[in-house]
Amino acid sequence: MSFDLQSALEHISHQLPAQGPIKDFIHHNTLHAFQHLPFHEALAEASAFYGAASYMPMGFYGQSGLSPIALAKGGVEHRENIDTAVAPILIRLTSGFLDQGIAVSPFPEADCGFFEALNKLAHNSWTPIAYYANKKRTREWFRKSPERVCEEILKQLVVQEDLYEQYITDTLMAHRGWAGMVNVLEHRPTALLVPRSIRLVEFLALKLILESEYLLFSGSPPPVPSLVRPSQVSPIKNIHEAYENAYYHEILSKFKNIKPAQQAKPHIQAVFCIDDRECSFRRHLEQADPHIETFACAGFFGIDFFFQSINDASPKKLAPAPVQPKHLVFERPHALHITEFENQRKKTQSKALWLTSWLGFVAKNTLKIDVRTELELYREDDLLNQDTKLYHGFTYDEMAERVFSVLNSMGLNHDFAPIILMIAHGSSSLNNPHFAAYDCGACSGNPGAPNARAFAAMANLGPVRERVYKLGISIPSGTRFMGGFHDTCTDSIDFFDTEDLTAEHGTIFSNFLNTLEATKKLNAKERCIRFAVVDPDITPEQALAEVQHRATVLFEPRPELGHVNNALCIVGRRQLTKNLFFDRRAFLNSYDPTQDPTGQILNSILNAVVPVCGGINLEYYFSRVDNAVYGCGTKLSHNVCSLLGVYNGIDDDLRTGLPVQMIEIHEPIRLLIIIEQTPEIVLNVIQNNKPIFEWIENEWVKLACVAPDSNNITFYQPTRGFVDYTL
C-alpha cells in the first residue's frame, strides 16, 4: 500500500480543533471528529488520543477514591523536545503570515500562498530561517512543492511507510491549535479580514523542514512515531450517568401532572431567541404582565444573511454555522441623515488613522458612527451580484417565505397582538477577547440585532403580508412588528425603528417599557445569585447596577456567565413550561404540536436546535471536564495572537475551547431535549434525518417526549427507540 498524503491529512484534519478566528467564536462539539461513535466510546477514544479526562474527578460526584488518571502521553520526550525547539520559529512565521493587524511590520511576501511566501523569504534573505537551519538546504526545500517536501522528508525520517501517518499526526498534534486554525482557514478563507492563502499541507511542510533541519543540527535521531494507545471506557461512566439521570429525573417529574397554563388576551407578543439566558427573562416578563405573551425561535429569526453595518468594512455571517447564506444586506444611513453620516465618517476615519497601534486603546467606542439608519432589504431583480456571488437583498417572495415559516413554526399564526417584538440578543463586555462566545450561537457568534430588525421590517411590508396571507397566515393590519436587542450582560433592551409607531401603538408600547424596567431588575437579581462576589441580599436595583458595571470595567473576567447553566432544551408550547422554574438552564423553542401532524415543522426546528444547542452544551461539557486539553485555561494570562486566538506566553500553541472563567461552575450534563409531541411522530422525524439521528442515537444529546394531551413521558434509548419513562 503506498502512502497517500492527501487522504492522511484529510483524516488528521478531522481531529484538529475546528475553532475559527476568535472574533466569531462559534460553539461546537469539541469532539466532532468522534461523533460517529457512541458518546462514551468516543470519549474513551478521545481520551487515549489527546490524553484528556472524559468525566469529572470522583470527588465531584460526591464519591471518594481516586479516579483512574487519563494516560498522559508517555515516552515521547524526544518528540516533545524537538517540538519545543522548533515551535518559536514555526509559530512566528505562521502567526506573522496570518496576522490580521497586530504586527507593525507586515509579513514581507504575504501576497501569495504561505509556502510560496516562505520560498521568497528564504531566497531573498542573507540569513537562515532559523539558527539551526542550513541556508542552502532550506532554500532547496522551499523551491519544491509542499506535498513533495512532506513526502521526501518523511522518507528520510521514518523507516516504514505505514508509520508515516502516525508520524504526521504526532508532529501536527504538538501544535494542534495552530494546525487547526490553518485547516479552518484553508476551508474558510472568508473568515479572515485581511485575506491570506494557507493550506494545512504547507504548514506541515514548514514543520517538517524545521524538524529535519533541527535534527541534523543537533545530531539526534528522528523521533519514533508514538504507539496508538488502546482506549478503555472509564469506570466513572456509570457514576456520571447516574449523576445525569438524577437531574433528568428531577426535570421530567415536573411534567408529570402539569396543567397547561392559561394565556390572557395579549397586548404584546415578544419573540426571543431560544437561548437559555432568555429563559428567566421571559418568565419575569410574563409574571409582570399577564397580557404579554412570549415565544422563542432560533435567534437568527429565519433570516439567514450576510450583513454589513455602517461600522463594518466587511460583511458578517448572521446565520447558524451549518447554513451558508445566499443573501447580503447593507445598512445605510437614513435618507434624512446622510450629511450627518458623511461628517461622522470623516471624523472616525481621521481618528482611526491617528489611533495607530500605540494609541489604539482610545479607539474603543469612539469610532462608532451613530446615525439613524435603515436596511437595504428589498431586491427587485433576480440577479446574482458578480463580485460577491450573493443576492443583494431579498425579493418579496423570499421575504414572505421566511416570515411565514418562522411564524408558523412557533405556532404564532393566529390571535395576533397589536405589537409583536422580535428580540435578538448579544452581550457587551470590555477587555475580553472571548466576547463572541457570549453572543448569539444561531448567528455564528454575532449579536443577532440585524436579523430581528430585518424580520420586523419584512413582516411590516404590505406586499410581504399579502404573500404571507396567500401562504396561509393572516396578519391583521393593526399588528406591527418591531425589532429589539437584548444585551444579556447589562440586561438592557433597545428597540429599532421606534419612530414608525402610530399613536395607538405608542401607548401600549410605553406601558410595556415600564414593565420592562421592572423585569430587567428582577432578571439581574436572579443572575446575581450565581456571582460569588455579590451579596445575595441585594435589591433588584442594585443587581441591575451590578450587571451593568460588569460590562464596563476593564478588570472583570466574568462579564456574564454565558451558557454556564445549560442542560435542557424544551421544544413545545409555552403553556407547558410557563409555570415551571428552570433556573436559566433551558433552551426553549416554541412549537405547536397540534399544528404539525407530519412532523415537518419539527424537523426544521431540530435542524437548528440540535447542532446549535448540542454544540453549546458539549463545548461546555468538554471545556469543563478537562480544561487543560479541551479548554483554553485561565483567561488571566492570555495573550492575543494575530487577532486569531489566544495563547500563553509568546511562542505557544493557540488555545481553543472555553476559558476557566466561563465554565468553572458549569455542571457537565448532556443536553436533554424534551419535545412536546407524540413519540411516533418524533421517531419518524429523527429516523429520516441522518445528521440529527447521529446526535441522538449516539447519545451526544438525550431525547424525551411529552405527549401533547396525556402528558405521557417517553425517553429515547439507542436501538430500542422511545420507551415509557417511569417516575
Binding site: G96, A103, N431, V533, P557
Partner: protein, 607 residues
C-alpha cells in the same frame, strides 16, 4: 519626621507581605488588607516626598549604620511615587480580576514583596542595600512568571529570567565592593561596568532582551506592573542613582549610549514583527528603556526621568487593556473600511526586497542572540558540569573531601586554593546532577562551605564570620532537607531535570524548600546574605581569583537551586484535585520557618 515617614514607607510593603504570607483568610479580606496598606504606602510616599520638597530638595543621606544608609533624591522620590501610584492601580484591578484564582493570596503576597524590594532599591544609600532590594525584585519576578506553575513553558521562562537576573546581579555584588576601593581610573571603569551589568539584566538590554517578552506568562496585571511599568525601569533608576559615578568616568557614557542605541534599534526591529500583543508591548518598552539610556549618556537625567515615568504609566495601561485588542482592531478596521493603518515609519515598503526579507528573518529570530548565548555559554558550562558530576560520582565524594579537610587543618594558607578548587568542583557537581535532589543540595551547600573555608584559611581573623556563615548555611540546609525528606516519604525522586509538578501536592513543603534554598544562595532576608557580604570583602583583599570563584559559585548555586525548585515543584499539570494529605501542616511549616528566622536573627545579632 522625614525619617519616620521614610522608614514607614520601607516597612509597610514588607510588613504587608509578611502578613499576607502568614494568614489565609478569604479573598475579600486579602484584597481589602492589601489595598489599605498600599493606600497607606502611597500616603507615606507622598508625605516623604513633600517633606523632601519643602526642606531643601537636595540629595539627602540618612544613616542608621554604615550598612543601613538611605538616600533621598529626585529620581528616587519620583520613582517611589510612580511605584505607589501604579501599585494601587494594579491592586484595585486585581481585586476582581483574580477572583476565584487558586493563587489569589500568593499573588497579593508576591506583589507586596516586589514593592518591598523596590522600595529598598529606591531608598538605598549604598550598593549593599540596592543589591538586597534587587534580589527581592528578581525573586518576585521569578515567582510571578511561574504563577501558573503547572505550565512547563511558564516554569521554563521563569527559570530563564532568574538565571539571567542571577548572573547580572553579580554586577551589583561586585559593585558593592569595588565601591569601597581606592578611587582610580580602573576602579571607576570596573564599578561602572558592574553597574551596567546589573542594568542589562533587570532592564532586558542587549544582548539578553529576549527574556522579557517571554516572561509574559503570569496574570496580565503582573506582566503590567513588572515588564510594562516598574521592574523594567529599575535599571534606568539605578543608572540615575549612580549617575555621578559612571557619567564622569571618562569614556563610559559612550558605552552606555551605544548599549542603549543597539538595544533600541534591535528591540524596535524585534517588536515590529511580533504578531502578539504582549510581546509587542514588551519590546516597545525595552526600546524606550534603550532610548532612556541614550538620554542618560548624553547627560539628560531629568529628561530620562520624565521619559521613564511616562513610559511606565503608558506600558502598564497598554498591558492592562491588551485583551481588548481584538475588539479595538475590528473597530479601526471598520472605520477605515478595511484599509490597513500605515505605521508611522513604514520603511519596509521602501526597502530593497533582499534587505527587507533579511531584516524580517533576523527580527523573528531575535538576531539569533539566544541561540548564540546558548551555544557559547550555556552549553559549555552544562557539558563541564556533567563531566564533573560523573567524575565525582565515580570518585566517591568522601574520598576527595575527607583528606582535603584534614590536610587543610594542618597546612592552612596554601590550601585555601585547594578549597577554592573544591568549591568550584562541588558547584559544578550540583549543576550537573540529574537524579537526586539531595545530592544537589549537599553539593551546593558544600561548595558554599568550601568558599567560606578558603577565605577563613586566607584570613585567620575571619573565623567568627566564617563559622557564623557556615551555621547559617547549615540551618538553611536542614530546613530544605527536612522538607525534602517529608516529600520523599511518598514520592520517588527520579529526576531533577524533568518537571515533577509537586507544588500541587506539597504547597507548604515547597515553601519550606524555597526558604531553605534562599538561605543557601544568600537571599537578603537570611543571615547568609550579610555574611556573604563580609566574606566577599575579605575575598577582595585576597586577590581576584577569590573574587572570581566566589562570584562564580554565587551565580552557579543560585541557578542550580532555583532550577531544582522549578523542576521539582512546577511544570506538570494534574487531572485531579491534588491530594495534599502528606504535606506539612501550616503550623508545621510556620514553626519551621519561624525557627529558621530566629536562628538567622540570632546570627545577625551575634554579628
Amino acid at each position: 519626621m522625614i525619617h519616620c515617614f521614610l522608614l514607614l514607607t520601607l516597612f509597610i510593603p514588607a510588613l504587608s507581605s509578611i502578613i499576607l504570607a502568614t494568614s489565609a483568610p478569604n479573598e475579600h479580606a486579602i484584597s481589602r488588607f492589601a489595598q489599605t496598606s498600599f493606600l497607606l504606602y502611597l500616603v507615606t510616599a507622598l508625605v516623604t516626598s513633600a517633606f523632601w520638597l519643602f526642606q531643601d530638595s537636595q540629595t539627602y543621606l540618612y544613616s542608621i549604620t554604615s550598612l543601613l544608609t538611605f538616600k533621598l533624591d529626585l529620581p528616587g522620590l519620583v520613582y517611589l511615587c510612580t511605584t505607589a501610584f501604579i501599585t494601587n492601580i494594579i491592586l484595585f484591578y486585581c481585586r476582581r480580576y483574580l477572583h476565584r484564582d487558586p493563587g489569589y493570596q500568593r499573588f497579593f503576597m508576591i506583589i507586596s514583596m516586589f514593592v518591598a524590594g523596590l522600595t529598598v532599591v529606591i531608598f538605598a544609600g549604598n550598593f549593599e542595600l540596592i543589591f538586597a532590594g534587587w534580589e527581592v525584585v528578581g525573586l518576585s519576578s521569578y515567582l510571578l512568571i511561574g504563577f501558573y506553575w503547572h505550565r512547563p513553558q511558564a516554569a521554563l521562562n521563569a527559570s530563564r529570567a532568574y538565571y539571567i537576573y542571577r548572573i547580572c546581579d553579580l554586577g551589583l555584588l561586585a559593585a558593592a565592593f569595588i565601591s569601597h576601593l581606592e578611587p582610580s581610573f580602573n576602579q571607576q571603569w570596573a564599578l561602572s561596568l558592574m553597574i551596567l551589568l546589573a542594568v542589562i539584566g533587570k532592564s532586558a538590554q542587549f544582548p539578553v532582551s529576549y527574556w522579557l517578552p517571554r516572561a509574559m506568562e503570569g496574570p496580565t496585571p503582573s506582566s503590567a506592573i513588572f515588564y510594562g511599568a516598574l521592574s523594567i525601569h529599575a535599571g534606568v533608576f539605578l543608572l540615575m542613582r549612580t549617575f555621578d559615578t559612571w557619567f564622569y568616568t571618562p569614556g563610559f557614557s559612550w558605552v552606555v549610549g551605544s548599549l542603549g542605541l543597539i538595544t533600541a534599534l534591535l528591540a524596535t526591529l524585534f517588536g515590529r514583527v511580533q504578531a502578539n500583543i504582549k510581546g509587542q508591548i514588551g519590546y516597545a518598552s525595552i526600546t524606550q528603556v534603550g532610548i532612556m539610556l541614550i538620554e542618560l549618556a548624553c547627560g539628560f537625567p531629568t529628561l530620562a526621568l520624565i521619559h521613564m515615568t511616562g513610559n511606565a504609566c503608558l506600558r502598564c495601561f497598554q498591558l492592562l487593556v491588551s485583551p481588548s485588542v481584538v475588539a479595538q482592531q475590528l473597530q479601526i478596521h471598520g472605520a477605515l473600511l478595511g484599509e490597513r493603518v500605515k505605521p508611522i515609519f513604514a520603511i519596509h515598503d521602501r526597502l530593497n526586497h533582499r534587505i527587507r526579507d533579511t531584516l524580517y528573518l533576523i527580527a523573528i529570530n531575535e538576531a539569533y542572540l539566544q541561540s548564540f548565548l546558548k551555544a557559547f555559554l550555556v552549553r559549555p558550562v552544562n557539558a563541564l558540569a556533567n563531566r564533573v558530576n560523573q567524575i565525582e560520582r565515580r570518585a566517591m565524594s568522601a574520598w576527595v573531601i575527607a583528606p582535603a579537610l584534614l590536610g587543610s587543618a594542618f597546612l592552612l594558607a596554601p590550601l585555601s586554593y585547594l578549597f577554592l578548587g573544591l568549591s568550584l568542583f562541588a558547584a559544578f557537581t550540583a549543576l550537573g546532577e540529574s537524579k537526586s535532589p539531595f545530592r544537589v543540595f549537599n553539593a551546593a551547600t558544600l561548595s558554599n562551605l568550601f568558599v567560606a573555608s578558603a577565605i577563613w584559611f586566607e584570613h585567620r581573623d575571619t573565623a567568627f564570620f566564617s563559622l557564623l556563615y557556615m551555621a547559617g548555611l547549615g540551618v538553611a540546609w536542614l530546613l530544605a532537607l527536612d522538607a525534602l525528606r517529608v516529600i520523599s516519604k511518598k514520592q520517588v525522586f527520579e529526576s531533577v531535570i524533568h518537571f515533577s509538578g509537586l507544588f500541587g501536592q506539597y504547597p507548604l513543603a515547597s515553601v519550606a524548600v524555597l526558604v531553605g534554598i534562599l538561605g543557601i544562595i544568600g537571599f537578603p532576608l537570611s543571615s547568609t546574605f550579610w555574611f556573604e557580604d563580609h566574606l566577599l570583602e575579605h575575598a577582595l583583599a585576597s586577590g581576584w581569583i577569590f573574587v572570581a570563584v566566589f562570584a562564580g559559585v554565587f551565580a552557579l548555586n543560585g541557578i542550580t537551586l532555583i532550577r531544582l525548585y522549578s523542576h521539582l515543584f512546577w511544570g506538570k499539570r494534574e487531572h485531579e484535585p491534588a491530594d495534599t494529605s502528606h504535606d506539612f501542616s501550616s503550623a508545621g511549616v510556620f514553626a519551621r520557618i519561624a525557627v529558621f528566622m530566629i536562628a538567622n536573627g540570632v546570627q545577625l545579632w551575634l554579628l
